[in-house]
Symmetry: C2
Subunit: 771 residues, 2 copies
């Protein structure tokens, strides 16, 4: 057997194992004729993309062995589950991590049975699949994941099969431009293989149906050197693919040596459902959309179909592939690389194995000095910037800061004291902080930032993604998928913990004075808390020191999604660093200096979460102590939103006893919240005092206006909070009619001033706490 | 003055008015020297993209007049507010819709003052801006909107300026391929103008920095004929742009005549902040990122800067542009087209003006006959398909059905009896229902489906978007922006009502048996209900007839986003068409035949929303009547989710009296919900009986398994509901220990069967109601 015959044998074995997974409950080696009881009652799975994925993998194995290449494999097409599982089993990895699915006939039987079967494994490439960092569910992120994996891995090649269906998505269409952010010397290589099999579920695909001249121009326009591998005769295609890969790997070496900036890529045109049934019931199947899922249906009930399936499976000549015990023959596994060189066992695809803890400077060194609470202001993210700068400097190979053109605007510009924005395209003298090897990644695509960071984290590195709060909804779906990946990994012992995905949402809903309504949306939190409590964390630090403490905590954590919301505009400094650490450790607490209930049960609790709501709450407490000095007010600030949930619902949840001690069980609680108010109700509806809870928050009112006018439009302002207290504390409304009117008048005055002068009243804008 | 001099005068006037909006409170005509009090205290706005937008608009006006062309203008760059407002004022449209902003000096003063000012108008192109269908907030959707506007408007040209920042987004990157879905004869033309001004907020842009040869290949690869207009000398650029537009409009005519399939597009390279300050404080500004927002800051405090601003404004020679009363001179307005030919006044940009009601067949004609409730099954979306087919046939020019390759998979295939999928790329004999003039649009990009449909609706047409429930999160952010647009339009009298945006989410969380965990997410509803009650509606019809009734209602409605969730798998027929209409009109109601509380207060309410939860609730009611015949059970089904909110919160909300009459104030309510359970709590937390409400729903548990196993994994199954009843109805838990155990055993049996045979127990799968 020559080398290409061995590649072919491996391919046939993978195809055989893929078909077996879709169809068979038993008789895996076809040692007896197929009978209906060997067939699964529900045929679930996707054949269409599978032979192409197996084909690429087999040929890449040849290259790995030939060049001792470190390589991982990303299967972009959504439905490649049978392929990835078959390949991992053939390489022996599957049986290593799942010993009960042994590499013999009994293991093969289990392999087949478990696929898409209750109690078994998903039909897509999933966290359960060894060698994968990419879920084959929602489409469009393969290439961004591939680039994320390649960053800072100079020896690695990330082979990425891009499906032609997936290629129609927006995220994928812009992912091709990731090559402008890949440094050939410092980073690894990405080898995109655009797999044109012509059809999606029921439709043709765009890239398969445009003229080939256009397709080549498109890929050249994206900055690649395309190589076409096209055909359907396996022998011809093996030769073509092998020759092409030789050229491609030589070109990768050229790019890495700096000889040419254009990375190679491959366009693979092969029939959908290649090597499957040509026709079924007189209709063409191979090469058409009909082979997308299960090409032969009703196999259990139709003897003719059963016979067709058997012919199909035997066309791979299983007798030449497996011995009588079901073990792959040496000729089949001859092209399988050794140990961690196997793509199914490469440690980059189980990134936790490679994870080094981040080297973190002491965040306390970046503290703002706070002599008296709420008397001075700091820009929290600017303060954080110094810390992030030194994190970047201390971790020059495994930490990245990402943002859609908002790193400077979000005031993390200190980073540019030690690094720049990575950029391989043209530069001009008017550029600032643009360099070919920067640690900051900025592109106006939240999808790319998210996809790159996911790929980077999943291969064992660290990062921080900063963005506008409203527009982070752009990656809601990607967040969902990553959170689901983390949730699934909790049940997979061989998946090692990875660094958390950290969001810093800094240009938030309350300070879109200049951008207006379209930029105001705090609803990402509502999406986040839908995911399992085991993987999501939400923090709303109210000032610079609490932000530092939270950031340090998040950067140390594993396997979470941490969402941090903190303003970039100046906010009052509330806590010394020691107090901030204590407050963040507790997650919430009473601001004693702003409270007037010392040693007593309060008459009312003013709770707050978020920097602007906290400011307004403090100003309201100030008004109350001046106007109603006898009223016992307790001010509670919440940093860790998950503390509000019962401890039975979330690991951070407070016990009812602790919750009641803070919020009381029977006093009015006026909760001033950063986001949509019902989120607080949702988190607390099981608490004792819930019927006394009154939440203020964003109620979808906004425009281009001043900060205080924004607060007033949504009734989270200090004056309205005082009115809420009057309305809700028993007895106050009767005797405080005058004060209530005063508050209404104050709002009217504030608004009139804003409309007249275009800015807030100085006494409102510059309010501080008088101790 | 020759024609190009008139174009230049118009351009200078627009630029002058743009600068004025950013800076001036008063002295709009510079009739006196600029003083600090003429300057706004907060300088908000974006100059960078503005002169380019004005330049394109001016030249397009010339073409409109020359060829009597029907044209609208989409300003893709996010920050073009000053331009769009200035242009509409120059054309007279602004003063028509906002008479207080007259076309004279006082109107100009108001025009300047209101911009980005409290009580004024947003800094971006917004619903308030005449002539716009495109919000300049979140980036990336301009080109999809443009194509949506062009569909079925054969005489229209949609000029679309694409910013080079925006061009980095995923949605925009794939939008270029929309040309494969535009029929030259039946549809209008889209003229993309890729405006490369080189910088985003702080970063260079990818497309401005790749080699021009690559850029040309990229555009050719996307299927366009690119034309480069590049430079910074206004006189040269005017000549070049004018000549180029002649060629471009000739080429558009060629494409429409069928002579060439490649649409033209323009690459406009001009400096960012063109004609603005070259340098400020010794740093380059024009042509750099420094001109992104306000090129000259501190103008009010710095006399030097103030003088620079005055020099800058006078550089446009306002004395040659406006008369002493502030009215634009005839030479300036000479290029303005007449009446509705003005792009700022084109009725396509206020689509409600052109909206024809949809011609709807009688949905009752598509009813499933239901002799006895819950005894037969129908595939609801297949039933709906017949109705949609006839809607398509009856509205051949203003209704489209869109989906990301899921129309057939979601069982709306009846549409293909009267039309096909539109497709201008290559076709093969193995394709089915592919045609160049189909009414169905399928592309594997939720972004494109959403963007096209938005553009189509905003220009006065109708449509339906069908997608997987989990993956509709991909367009969360686009939904948010469209909902905000609709919210804003409620306050703008001259914006006429448009057709609602209708979603049909059919492959939903409970029936992802074959796709597993990554395909399971019902959280889109949580995003939707964050938007204002005035614009969002959510429907969960439990069977085929209710789906038909709901669909008819949604297709008739205006200015809403309607989300309909309905399964494609067979579900029990619950209601005759008459009953279904009544039920949907009420929005919720008691299923009397399944209830055992006739004439009495119930012991427990079993509420349900969604097809699978309703099935399990009915099966639970069935178990209860068999095992606990004396228990008075009320079954309530909810179709219109917004009925659960108080009437003070949502126009569909029930009064407390009506709510209490259905749900009681003190009996346990076991609510079986389609989505995440807390959404029901969030909608009902103010209701009297809320503390008795126990909600079951999706709790983020799932995999590839059988439908009933999915229900069990999340405790929404019939057996668990019976256990919930036992646990919550006072007195039952003591005497029903045996029944409780029986339910536990039934679950165990069901699961064991599933694991063994890969399918549900027949008696569970085939359960029906025995009357």
């Amino acid at each position: 057997m020559n080398e290409l015959e061995r590649v072919d044998a491996f391919w046939r074995a993978a195809n055989y194992l893929s078909v077996g997974q879709i169809y068979l409950l038993d008789n895996p080696l076809l040692t007896e004729p197929l009978l209906p009881e060997h067939i699964k009652p529900r045929l679930l799975g996707h054949w269409g993309t599978t032979p192409g994925l197996n084909f690429c993998f087999a040929h890449l194995n040849r290259m790995i062995r030939q060049r001792d290449q470190d390589m991982i494999y990303i299967a972009g097409p959504g439905h490649g589950g049978p392929a990835a599982v078959a390949l991992a089993w053939l390489e022996g990895t599957y049986s290593q991590v799942y010993p009960e699915v042994s590499r013999d006939a009994e293991g093969m039987r289990r392999l087949f049975r478990q696929f898409s079967f209750p109690g078994g494994i998903p039909s897509h490439v999933a966290p359960e699949t060894p060698g994968s960092i990419h879920e084959g569910g929602e489409l469009g992120y393969s290439l961004a994941h591939a680039y994320g994996a390649a960053f800072d891995n100079p020896g690695l090649v990330v082979a990425c099969v891009v499906g032609d269906g997936e290629a129609e998505t927006g995220p994928l269409a812009t992912s091709w431009h990731s090559n402008k952010f890949l440094n050939p010397a410092r980073d690894g290589a990405v080898l995109p293989i655009l797999h044109l099999n012509g059809y999606k579920i029921a439709n043709p695909t765009v890239l398969a149906r445009i003229p080939e001249t256009e397709l080549i121009k498109l890929m050249e326009g994206y900055g690649y050197r395309p190589h076409i591998v096209s055909g359907d005769d396996p022998a011809v295609m093996h030769r073509l693919m092998a020759d092409t890969l030789e050229v491609v790997f030589d070109q990768i070496a050229e790019v890495k040596a700096g000889d040419d900036p254009r990375w190679p890529m491959i366009v693979l045109r092969s029939p959908k459902g290649w090597t499957g049934p040509r026709q079924v019931d007189g209709l063409p199947v191979e090469g058409t959309w009909r082979s997308h899922q299960v090409p032969l249906s009703a196999v259990r009930d139709d003897p003719g179909k059963l016979a067709e399936l058997e012919r199909w499976m035997r066309s791979y000549r299983p007798g030449e592939l497996f011995d009588e015990h079901g073990r792959p023959l040496p000729e089949v596994t001859a092209i399988v690389p050794d140990g961690p060189r196997r793509m199914s066992a490469n440690p980059h695809a189980n990134g936790g194995e490679l994870l080094d803890p981040l080297k973190l400077p002491d965040f306390r060194d970046y503290a703002t000095e706070v002599k008296a609470p709420a008397t001075c202001t700091t820009e929290p993210t600017r303060q954080l910037g110094g810390f992030i700068r030194d994190v970047i400097a201390a971790n020059p190979r495994d930490f990245r800061l990402l943002g859609p053109d908002e790193v400077a605007s979000n005031r993390l510009g200190a980073a540019f004291e030690v690094t720049g924005r990575v950029w391989q395209a043209g530069q001009l003298p008017t550029d600032e902080h643009i360099t070919t090897d920067g640690r900051v990644m900025e592109v106006l695509s939240e999808h790319l930032c998210q996809g790159w960071l996911e790929g980077y984290l999943l291969t064992g590195r660290h990062g921080l993604f900063t963005s506008y709060e409203a527009f982070i909804h752009i990656i809601d779906a990607m967040f969902n998928q990553h959170a689901k990946w983390l949730e699934a990994c909790r049940k997979i012992p061989w998946r090692r913990p990875i660094a958390s995905l950290n969001y810093l949402l800094s240009s938030h809903v309350w300070r879109q004075d200049h951008n207006g309504f379209s930029h105001q949306d705090p609803g990402f939190l509502d999406v986040v808390v839908n995911k399992k409590a085991t993987v999501v964390r939400v923090y709303l630090p109210p000032d610079a020191n609490t932000l530092l403490s939270v950031a340090d905590h998040c950067l140390r954590s594993h396997d979470y999604v941490n969402v941090v919301i903190a303003g970039k505009q100046p906010v009052l400094d509330l806590m010394s660093m020691d107090d901030a650490i204590l407050h963040c450790t507790r997650g919430l607490g009473i601001l004693q200096w702003a409270s007037s209930d010392q040693g007593h049960e309060p008459d009312v609790v003013l709770a707050c979460a978020g920097d602007v709501p906290t400011l307004e709450t403090l100003a309201a407490a100030d008004l109350l102590r001046r106007h109603l000095p006898e009223l016992k007010v307790r001010v509670v600030n919440v940093v860790d939103l998950m503390r509000l949930q019962p401890d039975s619902e979330h690991p951070h949840g407070l016990t009812d006893t602790a919750f009641d001690a803070l919020f009381t069980t029977d006093k009015p609680v006026i909760f001033n919240f950063h986001g949509y108010p019902w989120l607080i109700h949702r988190l607390t509806y099981r608490r004792h005092g819930h019927e006394n809870l009154h939440v203020r928050g964003y109620k979808e009112e906004g425009t281009t206006t001043t900060p205080f006018d924004m607060a007033m439009m949504n009734d989270i302002d200090r004056f309205h909070l005082v009115m809420d207290v009057i309305d809700r504390v028993p007895g106050l409304s009767e005797r405080c009619g005058h004060l209530r009117q005063e508050m209404t008048d104050a709002r009217t005055r504030a608004r009139a001033h804003t409309r007249e002068y275009g800015e807030d009243l100085p006494e409102i804008r510059d309010w501080t706490w008088q101790h």
